[in-house]
């Protein structure tokens, strides 16, 4: 911060407090513990002031003829109250300002606004997906009336409209707050939504020649305070009050958007973004939030196999190590989708098996300019810190493939990658004397592998990752691993012990502790210290080399 922001004295409900200049009145009241109901106001969007829900009573200091504030007996300025309500979202705090958030006038205003909003509301909460997290429901209970005085016929508007491939609109439920319109214009930079049929029939609509197909369209569903915009994917799947929300991070790219995984009885129903202003703000791309179904796929590998036959875990890990040791020269391919803990154990396993040739598979694509960076691996920075690759990601892949083709490398250990993606051909895999693979879904490598170890998907395990900006973030477990599958760190620990090393690691905390002792970057840390919002591990400048 370059200059000190001056603090202003503001009276909220009779108590004098100080707020930095530029604070919105609605935020100041929230900070003072006086929540003001709002529909259209969103801290990340522009302020239209159209819902009128945040009305408050406001006043400014009374002035003497020479423009000095009149001081009361307590030495504080006397406030001259403005005789009509003001909206608190479009108003910055000012010196000597007075605010009343629970005066009879304010209460009456809120009651009136609620009554107007509910006049044409269909009251179909039993079938509305928003029920349970609906501002209209909440504020109706808090500030509304218990019954309607409206005897006329309600206005009919379009229902069940497909605005785009992922968003469904019910215009009757809409309170015309325009959050979605502003989001599409200001954040997604795809200005396709707007109001049409102005007046009593006002409706949200898409531009006639376009659809709401931006990769950020589902964020409009999150910010919609009512059930007007609902996710087509989540529509009628589960009521929100059943969902257990697990704080975790997204693993589809190097940013690691903070998310909430909504699950019930070991089944994931939806993923929603979690606010973290150092990472993803309040948003997440649709492609990332919908990419969880493969975790629940029928295809999942449910148990380890040895020579394509199901085996017990102890047998499988012993067989894997025996086959690798018997094979001769070895190489290891590690996925940058693994957590730090797993990468650390992979490195220890490589040392134990005398593997000097190891690399990760890089995934660089064009960034989208909003949230998605070029690096589509979630933990390239972690892999760099923990030495999963030696020079640059993917620099040795060619050498490994050629070594296998020439026959100098006879065994490959692949942790979480399909070798066909890494440049191998199908015949190369058949040449290997030992191919040990960890995977959650079947692929060409698992079909050719001598030992397949079924791991856990990202929503089924705990661990940490470092994003492209050098921020250490935490994954949390939302559901149990499918079938007999195991946490990858346990698999790696068992492999390590099968080589004859005594690992003495009994929990993910043990792995982190051991890692923090061996890797200077993690010194003094543990999973608890990372916190829900992550921890800046590397200085931000260094990240240029990581993202390049």
């Amino acid at each position: 911060m370059s200059t000190e922001v001056p603090l202003l004295n503001v009276q909220i409900d009779g108590v004098w407090m100080q707020f930095p200049k530029g604070t919105k009145v609605i935020e100041a009241c929230s900070q003072a513990g006086k929540f003001i109901p709002r529909y259209c106001y969103h801290p990340k969007l522009s302020i239209p002031g159209n819902c009128r829900m945040c009305l408050i009573e406001m006043g400014m200091p009374k002035m003497t003829p020479d423009r000095k504030p009149v001081l009361g007996p307590d030495g504080r300025p006397e406030i001259g109250w403005i005789p009509r309500p003001q909206i608190s979202c479009a108003q910055d705090v000012a010196e000597g300002m007075g605010i009343r958030t629970d005066s009879p006038l304010v209460k009456e205003c809120r009651q009136g606004v609620m009554e107007f909003l509910l006049i044409n509301h269909p009251l179909d909460c039993p079938i509305c997906d928003q029920a349970g997290e609906c501002r209209l429901q909440e504020f109706s209970v808090e500030y509304g009336n218990s019954h309607s005085r409206f005897l006329e016929r309600k206005v009919k508007k379009p229902k069940n409209v497909e605005l785009g491939p992922r968003v469904t609109l019910d215009a009757e439920r809409c309170v015309l707050c325009s959050r979605c319109i502003r989001f599409m214009k200001e954040v997604a930079k795809d200005d396709v939504l707007g109001f049409v049929d102005r007046g009593g029939f006002s409706t949200i609509a898409c531009h006639p020649e376009k659809t709401l197909e931006s990769n950020y369209s589902l964020n409009t569903v999150d910010i919609c305070p009512v059930g007007a915009l609902t996710s087509t994917d989540f529509r009628f799947k589960m009521r929100v009050w059943f969902l257990k929300e697990t704080k975790s991070i997204d693993v589809n790219d190097g940013l690691g958007c903070n998310i909430l995984i909504g699950s019930r009885e070991n089944h994931i129903y939806r993923i929603t973004p979690r606010e973290n202003n150092d990472v993803n703000g309040n948003w997440i791309p649709d492609s990332h939030r919908l990419n969880f179904k493969y975790i629940q796929s029928e295809e999942r590998i449910l148990a380890p196999t040895v020579d394509q036959k199901p085996a017990a875990w102890t047998e499988a890990t012993k067989a894997a190590v025996a086959k690798l040791k018997a094979a001769g020269k070895l190489a290891m391919i590690v996925s940058s989708k693994l957590t730090n803990e797993e990468l650390y154990l992979a490195k220890r396993l490589a040392t134990a098996l005398n593997i000097t040739l190891h690399d990760t598979l890089p995934r660089f694509e064009t960034p989208d300019g909003i949230l998605i960076p070029s690096d589509r691996n979630p933990n390239t920075s972690g892999a760099r810190l923990l030495g999963a690759f030696t020079k640059e990601p993917g620099a040795h892949l060619k050498e490994i493939v050629e070594g296998v083709r020439k026959g100098t490398i006879q065994g490959v250990l692949s942790l979480g990658e399909d070798l066909l993606d890494c440049g191998f051909a199908h015949e190369d895999l058949l040449k290997l004397k030992a191919l040990v693979v960890t995977s959650i879904l079947p692929n060409a490598s698992t079909k050719a592998a001598h030992v397949v170890l079924s791991g856990a998907a990202w929503a089924e395990k705990r661990g940490s990752m470092v994003n492209i900006h050098g921020r250490l973030q935490r994954l949390n477990k939302a559901v149990e691993p499918a079938g007999e599958s195991r946490d990858d760190w346990e698999i790696l620990r068992d492999l390590l012990e099968a080589t004859g090393t005594v690992a003495a690691l009994h929990s993910i905390e043990d792995v982190f502790r051991s890692m923090s002792q061996d890797v200077p970057a993690f010194a003094g840390l543990n999973l608890g210290k990372i916190g829900d919002l992550g921890l800046q591990l590397l200085p931000k400048q260094e990240t240029a080399t990581v993202t390049a």
């Binding site: 009251l123 039993p126 079938i127 229902k159 009628f236 009521r239 009050w241 059943f242």
Partner: protein
């Protein structure tokens, strides 16, 4: 504090018991005589004979689902009963009504609705919580089955038991 129980002051005739015993025996013999003459009817021969006709309107038997006068499934699968059910006997799989259906306006219906009658405690909270008046505890009480699976009432069985209840909810009716 100790509480002293007051003993009744018995008269001489009460103290010797005999008159009361004789009076009691007289009643017993009176009933014996009635029984032998076939004048009293105490035992009900269940299940040939049932008390069903005497069950009160508010009797809480097995929970059932009902349809309305248009043949529409009243349940819109809001899952409030599933939420409120103390023994977690109810399991609903929601689904959406296809747009070509004549009830397309309702949008949502239960694809599956299972009540595990081996769990149900007949508390009636599901009936109380239902915002669409779709679930009612009716007068069926003899719920039997040979396996745990038999004890689960699926949607068809629930509608068979529930039948139709007209004129309760009008909001989904077609506009006049």
């Amino acid at each position: 504090m100790a509480y002293t129980v007051r003993r009744p002051n018995l008269t001489f005739w009460e103290k010797i018991y005999l008159p009361n015993i004789i009076a009691g025996l007289a009643i017993t013999f009176k009933h014996l005589k009635k029984m032998l003459k076939g004048e009293t009817h105490v035992v009900m021969q269940y299940p040939e004979e049932k008390w069903d006709a005497h069950l009160p309107e508010y009797y809480r038997g097995a929970p059932t689902l009902v349809k309305d006068e248009h043949g529409r499934e009243r349940c819109v699968s809001c899952q409030l009963c599933e939420f409120i059910c103390p023994p977690r006997a109810i399991k609903i799989t929601p689904g959406s009504i296809p747009s070509e259906s004549k009830f397309a306006k309702v949008e949502k219906f239960p694809e599956a609705f299972d009540i595990d009658m081996s769990r149900c405690i007949y508390c009636g909270l599901c009936e109380e919580v239902c915002p669409e008046q779709a679930i009612f505890l009716r007068k069926d009480y003899a719920v039997t089955g040979e396996s745990r699976a038999d004890m689960v009432h699926h949607k068809e069985k629930l509608y068979e038991l529930g039948g139709t209840m007209p004129d309760l909810v009008h909001k989904w009716n077609p506009e006049k």
